[in-house]
C-alpha cells in the first residue's frame, strides 16, 4: 500500500542538485494525438469510423479494415492486467535514475493490449485495472494502470508523482494576491497542503480587502512584487526563486473596452505590460532557476501556471484589447512551455470563461466564481493536466472553436453589438 507522502527533509546544501533528465520523448506524429487528449486530461485512442476497431499503438490505417478515417475517441480505461514486470535495469538515463520501475501489460476492455506504467497498489495479475492517459516529464502522453477502485494515498505513488504536480509539501509563488482570483488560489493552495506560499502584491501601500486575511494563513508570506517592474521581479527572484516549486501567475490587468470605445492606447499598453510583458519578465527571472531544479528531490520545481482567458483563443470584441493581450500571453506561454520542457517543468495554461469579478460586471451569467478557477488550478496540478478550460463558457467556446473557428468569429462579432 502506498505510504502517505511525508514532508521532505531539508535539502543538504553540500550535495549537488541533480540535473533534470527526461524520459524518451520521440513520438510519431500520429501518436501525438494521444498527447493532445492527455493535455486536457482525457484518454483517447483511435477508433475506426467504419468497423469501430480500436487501434493501439496509434496507426495510419485501421488494422482490421484498412480504413484511414480513424477519429480519436474517449476510451473507457477499464481492463485486465495480464502481466507485469519490475525493471531494475534501463537503457535510458531518466529511468536508470528511478529504477525499480513497475510496468504492466493490460488488455483493455476496448480491445487492444497496452503497456502501462503500473501503480504500486495494483494487485498482481490477473487484476482489474483502470488505465488513464497522463503527460510524462517530457510532456508526452503515457498510459498508467491504476487500481480499479480508489485506494488510500493513491496520488502519492512514487511513479505517479513523476506525472503530476501535487502542491502538497511544495513551495508556491502566486504573483498577485490582490485579485479575487489570486486570493482564492492562495487559499486553495493552503488547503491543498502547500508548505510555503509567497504572495506578490504590487503597490503595497494600496490596501485591498482580503489581503490581511491571507497574511493570517501560516503558510503565507506577502512579497512586494510589481510584474511591470523588472527590477522588482529580479529582486524577489534572487531571494526566493531557488525555492519555488510551482509558480502561479495570477497578475492581470483587465478593462472592458473595444477599439472605438476608448481614445489612445494607454489602457491597451497597461494590459500588454501586465498580461504579456509581465509574463515575459517573470519567465526571464524565475524560469532559469526553476529549470535548474527540475529533478531536485521530492519537491522539485514542477509547474508554472498561467492564468490566461478563454478570450485568448478568439477575440471577444467588447473586451477587445484585453483579448489581444491574453492572446499575446498565450503565444508567449507556448514559447515558455517549449523552454521549460527540457527540465520537465510543466507549463499549465488556464483558460477560464468570464470570472465573476468587478471587471466582468456587465457580462451576463454564467460567470465563474474565483474559487472555481482556483479549484481548477489545483485539480490540474494534481491530475497533471496542461490545458484547462474551467466553466461552461470556456467549454462552449472550446467546442465552437473546434467545430469552426471562422463561424465562431462571426458569431462573436454579431453577438458583441456596439
Amino acid at each position: 500500500m502506498t505510504a502517505p507522502l511525508q514532508r521532505p527533509n531539508k535539502k543538504n546544501p553540500v550535495c549537488k542538485t541533480r540535473q533534470p533528465t527526461l524520459p524518451p520523448w520521440t513520438r510519431s506524429r500520429v501518436a501525438l494525438g494521444m498527447t493532445a487528449a492527455a493535455a486536457e486530461g482525457r484518454f483517447e485512442l483511435q477508433r475506426c469510423a467504419r468497423c469501430q476497431a480500436v487501434q493501439y499503438p496509434p496507426r495510419e490505417a485501421c488494422h482490421r479494415c484498412l480504413c484511414i478515417d480513424l477519429p480519436w475517441v474517449e476510451i473507457d480505461g477499464g481492463g485486465k492486467l495480464i502481466s507485469q514486470t519490475r525493471l531494475l535495469h534501463s537503457h535510458d538515463l531518466y529511468f536508470r535514475e528511478r529504477v525499480p520501475w513497475r510496468l504492466g501489460m493490460v488488455q483493455l476492455d476496448a480491445g487492444p493490449t497496452v503497456v502501462v506504467h503500473l501503480h504500486g497498489d495494483v494487485a498482481a495479475p490477473p487484476a482489474r485495472v483502470r488505465v488513464a492517459c497522463k503527460l510524462d516529464k517530457a510532456g508526452m502522453a503515457v498510459l498508467v494502470g491504476f487500481p480499479a477502485e480508489e485506494v488510500p494515498n493513491m496520488a502519492d505513488d512514487r511513479q505517479l508523482r513523476e506525472l503530476t504536480c501535487n502542491p502538497q509539501f511544495r513551495r508556491v509563488f502566486v504573483t498577485d494576491g490582490k485579485t479575487a482570483t489570486g486570493q482564492a488560489v492562495v487559499r486553495a493552495l493552503a488547503a491543498a497542503g502547500a508548505d510555503l506560499i509567497w504572495v506578490g502584491h504590487a503597490e503595497p501601500w494600496k490596501l485591498v480587502p482580503g489581503l490581511a486575511a491571507l497574511q493570517a494563513l501560516e503558510q503565507v508570506t506577502l512579497v512586494p512584487l510589481d510584474v511591470t517592474d523588472q527590477r522588482s521581479i529580479k529582486e524577489v527572484a534572487s531571494q526566493v526563486g531557488a525555492k519555488v516549486d510551482i509558480l502561479i501567475n495570477t497578475a492581470e490587468y483587465h478593462r472592458a473596452f473595444s477599439i472605438s470605445a476608448r481614445q489612445g492606447t494607454d489602457i491597451a499598453r497597461m494590459e500588454m505590460d501586465v498580461n504579456y510583458l509581465g509574463l515575459l519578465r517573470l519567465a526571464q527571472e524565475f524560469g532559469p532557476v526553476m529549470k535548474a531544479r527540475g529533478a531536485d528531490g521530492q519537491s522539485s520545481a514542477v509547474a508554472w501556471v498561467n492564468l490566461l482567458s478563454i478570450f485568448a483563443l478568439a477575440n471577444f470584441p467588447s473586451h477587445g484589447t484585453y483579448s489581444a493581450s491574453k492572446a499575446a500571453a498565450l503565444s508567449l506561454a507556448q514559447c515558455l512551455r517549449a523552454e521549460m520542457r527540457v527540465a520537465g517543468v510543466r507549463v499549465i495554461n488556464v483558460f477560464p470563461g468570464p470570472i465573476d469579478d468587478e471587471w466582468n460586471q456587465l457580462l451576463p451569467p454564467p460567470k465563474l466564481a474565483p474559487t472555481a478557477v482556483a479549484n481548477a488550478i489545483i485539480d490540474a496540478l494534481r491530475d497533471g493536466i496542461e490545458d484547462v478550460y474551467p466553466g461552461d463558457v470556456a467549454q462552449e467556446w472550446r467546442m465552437r472553436l473546434k467545430d469552426s473557428a471562422k463561424a465562431f468569429e462571426r458569431e462573436l462579432s454579431v453577438g458583441s453589438g456596439t
Binding site: P24, S28, A31, L88, H91, Q107, H117
Partner: protein, 393 residues
C-alpha cells in the same frame, strides 16, 4: 493450417558455415563484420569474389546503407540481391529466399551474410529507435528494451503454466555446457543452476542469465546447387522443409504462442520427417521463455507441457535432444542480426561434420527455428527449417 503441397528444395545445397569470432564491443562497423564473413566464406569455399552471383544480407547497423550500398562497398556485382530485416528470423528466411533463387536459376552461388557491430552505446540507440510502435508505445515505458518485453511474457507464462525459474535455468545451464566446447562463445565459464538462480534481477522475473548479451560478430553460409557444391568439394546439407510467418495470431492478447504453431504441420509434411526424427534442435534463444515456446509450438511436446518436457531431457550435445549445440545466443552472445544466423550456421556444422565444439553423434536431421522483431508487444517473425545431412565427402 491447411497443409499445402509446396515444391521441395531438390538440388539445393547449403554449405560453408562461417562464424567470425565475436567480441563484446567493436569499434568497427557492421560493414566490416559482414566483409570479414564474406572473405571467410570465399576462402573456405575456395572461390573468388566474382563467383558470387547472389547475396542475402541482414544487419541492423548497416544504416544508412542497405544490402544495395553494401554491394558497392564490397565490390560485388550480383545478379540477385535480397535484404532481410527480420532480426532473429533472418537466417531461416535467407535460406528460403536463396534456395528458391538457386532452384529457379536466378542465382547459382548465393552468399548469405549477417553481421552487426556493437559499439559501447549502439544497443541503446537500436532499442530506442527499433520501430515506430516501439518508439511510441514501449520505449517511453522504462526503456527496458527486449528485457522488459520478454519479462512480460515470462511473467505470464510462469503464472499460467507453473513453469519455474529452475526449468528455465536448466535450459540455460545446458546451453552453457554446450558452449564450453565451442571456441567462439563469449561465455567461457561453467554456469551452475545455483548461480543462475542467484543472479541479480534485471526485469522481474528475468535475471542476468536469462538475458542475451549484445556483442559484435558475423555469420555466413552458402546456398548453391548440389552439383556446384560437389564440384567444389564442399560438404553440404539439404533442405527438407521450411516455413515462415509474420504477425501470427494478432488477436492473442499476449504472445503465448508463435507462428510455428500455425505452420508446423506444413513444415513436417514438406520435410517428410517429424520432430521425433530430429537429432538436434537449434532454436532462437534470446530468452529461455522463447526457447521453451518453440519446443512446444514446433511439436516436441504438447502446448503447456514444456515443463515436464524440460524435466525429462538433458539438452546437452551428448544427451537427449541436443539443443543449441554451440551454446546459443545466451552463451555465445547476440551479434545483432547475426543472432538470427547462429543456429542455422551451427546446424550446418553439425550436419557437415565441421563442428568446432561438441559434435552430436551421427546427426542426420536437424531443426532450426527463428524468431524476430519485437515490433510492439510481440515478436512478429517466425520461421523454421528442417535440414538433413547431405554429401559430406
Amino acid at each position: 493450417m491447411s497443409v499445402t503441397t509446396r515444391a521441395g528444395y531438390q538440388g539445393v545445397a547449403v554449405a560453408v558455415p562461417i562464424t567470425v569470432p565475436y567480441v563484446r564491443y567493436s569499434t568497427m562497423s557492421a560493414h566490416w563484420w559482414i566483409a570479414r564473413a564474406l572473405a571467410a566464406l570465399l576462402e573456405a569455399a575456395g572461390v573468388e569474389k566474382a563467383a558470387v552471383d547472389g547475396v542475402c544480407v541482414s544487419g541492423f547497423l548497416l544504416f544508412p546503407d542497405t544490402a544495395v550500398g553494401l554491394m558497392q562497398h564490397l565490390g560485388l556485382s550480383p545478379r540477385w540481391l535480397d535484404h532481410i530485416p527480420m532480426g532473429g528470423n533472418s537466417g531461416v528466411v535467407a535460406l528460403r529466399r536463396a534456395a528458391r533463387a538457386v532452384q529457379a536459376g536466378d542465382a547459382e552461388f548465393v552468399a548469405c551474410l549477417a553481421g552487426d557491430t556493437n559499439h559501447v552505446d549502439s544497443f541503446r540507440h537500436t532499442v530506442a529507435s527499433f520501430s515506430q510502435f516501439a518508439r511510441d508505445a514501449v520505449y517511453p515505458y522504462g526503456s527496458g528494451g527486449p528485457n522488459a518485453s520478454f519479462a512480460f511474457l515470462t511473467d505470464y507464462v510462469m503464472r499460467t503454466t507453473g513453469i519455474t525459474r529452475e526449468d528455465y535455468g536448466k535450459l540455460c545451464v545446458a546451453q552453457r555446457t554446450n558452449a564450453l566446447a565451442f571456441p567462439h562463445a563469449l561465455f567461457k565459464k561453467p554456469l551452475s543452476l545455483a548461480e543462475y538462480l542467484a543472479a541479480r534481477p534485471i526485469a522481474e522475473p528475468l535475471h542476468l542469465f536469462d538475458c542475451v548479451m549484445p556483442c559484435a560478430g558475423a555469420e555466413a553460409f552458402l546456398v548453391t546447387t548440389e552439383d556446384r557444391a560437389r564440384a567444389l568439394g564442399l560438404p553440404y546439407a539439404r533442405v527438407l522443409g521450411t516455413i515462415e510467418r509474420h504477425n501470427a495470431y494478432p488477436e492473442d492478447p499476449i504472445q503465448y504462442r508463435g507462428g510455428w504453431a500455425m505452420d508446423r504441420d506444413d513444415l513436417y509434411a514438406q520435410a517428410g520427417v517429424g520432430p521425433e526424427a530430429m537429432d538436434f534442435v537449434q532454436v532462437y534463444d534470446d530468452y529461455p521463455v522463447i526457447t521453451a515456446m518453440q519446443l512446444e509450438d514446433l511439436g516436441f511436446c504438447p502446448k503447456g507441457e514444456v515443463k515436464a518436457f524440460i524435466r525429462s531431457h538433458s539438452f546437452t550435445c551428448d544427451g537427449t535432444l541436443p539443443l543449441n549445440t554451440s551454446g546459443g545466443q545466451l552463451s555465445v552472445g547476440q551479434a545483432g542480426a547475426a543472432g538470427g544466423y547462429l543456429g542455422l550456421v551451427e546446424a550446418l556444422r553439425q550436419l557437415t561434420g565441421q563442428t568446432l565444439g561438441t559434435p552430436v553423434p551421427n546427426a542426420q536431421f536437424g531443426l532450426v527455428s527463428g524468431f524476430g522483431m519485437i515490433n510492439y508487444d510481440r515478436g512478429l517473425c517466425s520461421g523454421a527449417a528442417v535440414l538433413a545431412r547431405g554429401h559430406v565427402q
